[in-house]
Subunit: 154 residues, 2 copies
């Protein structure tokens, strides 16, 4: 593929993905929601394992923890100034009015993910389930404080 | 965190993320769109580098290629039967009427991602840009054939 073709294809892809529109509130909102959605899907089976609803699968835990570790740093920069509205969002206004608290809560989540990923690569079932519990707690704490129950536009 | 609390928190998170609703068309559509959105954001800066719009950054290329490699296997199972509608989607009906062609196109994308990731971890700028070109071409080929220009509901 020649570079000029790559340029055209790349531009089309980038526009489609909103990659060149960084800073546009609706694109930032969509991006952070997308990341959270993918993280939630990766977390789902591990929660089901922790609950005993499906058998513990070390390979899935290792793979999904690794994926979450690769994703967990991505959403926070997308909560920039002016991205509190522009598309339906569950982001609480407190994200912007209490940034230190939000950073603390999101740091806790990232630390819990790092711990889970480290544990998942070698730990036994019991240790991993403890790490999953810590992560669940950190996620919930941040959601309780900084996510509204309903989507809002303003 | 006790297991019963984990269960409650986990269930809430999983429902929020649609993780337990696997098979519900709107959730599958949202999930595959989310994965594509995150992939697009990771691809964006590499396209800009290939175009010379921003300086080549080996660390970003290695990191983003690795992320795309972790994500690229995820969307395809979410194009299951009955997920051609249920929420606004750009998925062409051809995905379900020409499954072998769709599989071929998506296999090409996954191969191009694997090649890029392998190259990105050690390759020089020129080699990586060739791999980026191949991936851009594979993405575009699949989008041209299997993605509609506008969102549709039916």
């Amino acid at each position: 593929m020649k570079l000029k073709h790559l340029a055209a294809a790349g531009l089309a892809l980038a526009i489609a993905a909103g990659a060149l529109a960084q800073g546009k509130p609706e694109d930032e909102i969509r991006y952070r929601q997308s990341v959270m959605n993918v993280i939630g899907h990766a977390f789902g089976p591990m929660i089901a394992m922790a609950q005993g609803k499906i058998p513990y699968d070390k390979a899935v835990v290792a793979k999904n923890s690794n994926l979450i570790e690769a994703l967990i740093g991505l959403p926070w920069p997308a909560f920039g100034p002016g991205t509190d509205k522009g598309a339906p969002t569950q982001a609480s206004k407190k994200i912007w009015s209490e940034p230190a608290k939000f950073k603390h809560a999101s740091d806790n989540v990232q630390q819990a993910v790092a711990d889970l990923d480290k544990t998942a690569q070698g730990g036994d079932e019991k240790t991993v389930k403890v790490a999953l519990g810590h992560l669940g707690k950190a996620c919930k704490a941040c959601h309780d404080d900084f996510r509204t129950k309903e989507f809002h536009r303003n």
